[in-house]
């Protein structure tokens, strides 16, 4: 079913509410369709009860609904079991969970952790901190100027001490999809685990964790049509079982005495305290929306829009694209600079004309340093954007040097 963009947009009250806004900051956070909000509401307003512990119907219902949402996530990324799906607050927490727990169980002094130079701070600082706690060492895997990882580079960067590779499936600066399957095969051959950051990929392409064979995958609900406050950690069951728990307290126990505690089985072991039921149910509904529309239709829209965007940008003098010049490698995410104009000024001028883009280091400061850049601009699309959005952006983009006092 190929829906027209108008059909998509009517599902998102955001656009009717903000008719003069051109929202091109989707990589930061996406908008939510009304079905997602309705689900959030229905639980928080009409069906609120704590799951797991109550014996009354409303609590049983909350438990069932929560586990149903977990199963929707499981199927969306093709995990083998709901036990492999942990609800967290956001991808940052998911990655910290692995870094804190692996730091006791899997990584020891002298071990090496290989981190992509492309990584978002949330998939870099947790490893730096973990290395500090354990006496392990962080090394970096560099990429080409276009953002690609060379499998041979990985091969050569892995040593007998490398225990873990932390790498993104899609960089939030380049928009390029890494061939995680190949990279994971190489890492596994050398007995290194792979922690993948799916924040930017999961919202835009079908992801199959069993095919990729990654050991962990983290992503955030708010970037994939869900509300703020809910994220996911996928982990292979045997690995999650080997990890100690992260947060401890209510709901994640089997038995507690003054001496210590034993833990509940997966996935509860990693979900301490009252869970974000509303967030999980809403994320489940976001996935149901993805399933209804289908990635085919969404990706067709995103690639048409990306092509229009990048073709237009190529025609504007003094605009420099970061990463590949090929639209099909960008998945709606285009990072750029304008000669002589600081990204902050670009984004302020855009904002002044109702266009929301991002400027700064996009939480990837080491990548910017590696590229010799201090800051960049980023426009990021989603299937619900329109040709008019792209054209409005291009129109202002072509005026920016002028607005900053340049003659050409």
């Amino acid at each position: 079913m190929l829906e027209s963009p108008d059909n998509f947009r009517k599902d998102f009250p955001f656009f009717a509410q903000n008719p003069d806004l051109v929202y091109l900051d989707n990589s930061a956070t996406s908008q939510a369709p009304s079905c997602v909000i309705d689900r959030l509401n229905r639980y928080e307003q009409l069906q609120k009860a704590s799951p797991f512990r109550g014996l009354y119907p409303l609590s049983v219902q909350a438990t069932d609904d929560y586990e149903h949402a977990r199963n929707l996530v499981r199927d969306f990324i093709h995990a083998g079991s709901g036990e492999e799906i942990i609800f967290t607050r956001n991808a940052t927490e998911s990655l910290n969970l692995v870094a804190y727990c692996a730091g006791n169980a899997l990584i020891h002094a002298g071990d090496e952790i290989l981190v992509g130079i492309t990584e978002h701070h949330s998939n870099m600082i947790p490893w730096q901190q973990m290395a500090r706690r354990t006496g392990a060492r962080v090394r970096y895997l560099t990429c080409s100027r276009e953002g690609a990882f060379n499998p041979d580079d990985l091969e050569q960067s892995l040593t007998d001490r490398t225990r873990l590779v932390a790498i993104t499936q899609m960089s939030n600066v380049f928009g390029q999809i890494n061939d995680l399957r190949t990279l994971t095969q190489i890492a596994h051959r050398r007995n290194a685990l792979v922690v993948a950051d799916g924040c930017q990929s999961v919202p835009h392409i079908p992801v199959n964790v069993r095919e990729l064979d990654v050991d962990f995958l983290a992503f955030s609900g708010h970037k994939m049509l869900g509300p703020t406050g809910i994220g996911v950690l996928y982990g292979k069951k045997d690995l999650l079982n080997r990890l100690p728990p992260f947060l401890t307290g209510g709901e994640m126990i089997e038995e507690v005495t003054t001496e210590g505690a034993t833990w509940a089985p997966l996935p509860q072991k990693f979900e301490a305290g009252t869970v974000n039921t509303g967030g999980a149910l809403a994320l489940g509904e976001a996935i149901a929306y993805y399933n209804r529309v289908g990635f085919d239709a969404m990706m067709a829209r995103e690639s048409a829009l990306t092509r229009r965007l990048m073709t237009g940008m190529a025609d504007i003098p003094h605009v420099q694209i970061i990463g590949s010049p090929k639209p099909e490698l960008h998945h709606g995410l285009v990072t750029f600079t304008i000669d002589g104009v600081h990204p902050h000024d670009v984004s302020a001028i855009m904002a002044d004309h109702g266009i929301a883009i991002r400027a700064g280091h996009h939480c990837a400061q080491p990548l910017h340093a590696y590229l010799g850049l201090n800051a960049t601009c980023r426009a990021s699309l989603m299937f619900y954007n329109t040709e008019a959005d792209v054209d409005a952006f291009l129109n202002i983009l072509s005026e920016i040097r002028g607005a900053m006092g340049y003659a050409d």
Binding site: H344, G360, H368, N374, A403, M404
Partner: protein, 146 residues
Amino acid sequence: MPIKPFYNDILMDHHHHPAHKHELPDANLTLRGVNPSCGDQITLHLLVNDAGIIQDGSFTGDGCAISQASADIMLDLIIGKDQTNALHLCSLFMKMIRETVSDSELEELEEAGALQDISHMPARVKCAVLGWHTMEEAFRSQPTIH
């Protein structure tokens, strides 16, 4: 239809032709300031004599038009003044950005008054105050210069 210049003439001028953006080898007070919301950074170099007079100053680093122009304007203002006076101007500037200032206070700020509109652009406040804040910190961290 071309859009109009985004910043006023004074800002544009200091942005495109900063008088004080260079190294200052004989500086005796140097501090780096960062704007964590965008990673912009400025390094302020000051030469302060025993009497507390700012004899010379410059800045280096990378930042948006506002942070760069603001730093340049600040240096225009404070070079030749003493530390106390510079800090007084700094507090006036912060007041202008965060609240309002009187006409006479605005006059004291000279060209820095060109940044008055920033108070309506909350996202840019950190840019506008970066240089000033760095100066304040520099003096606070090293109150006496040798």
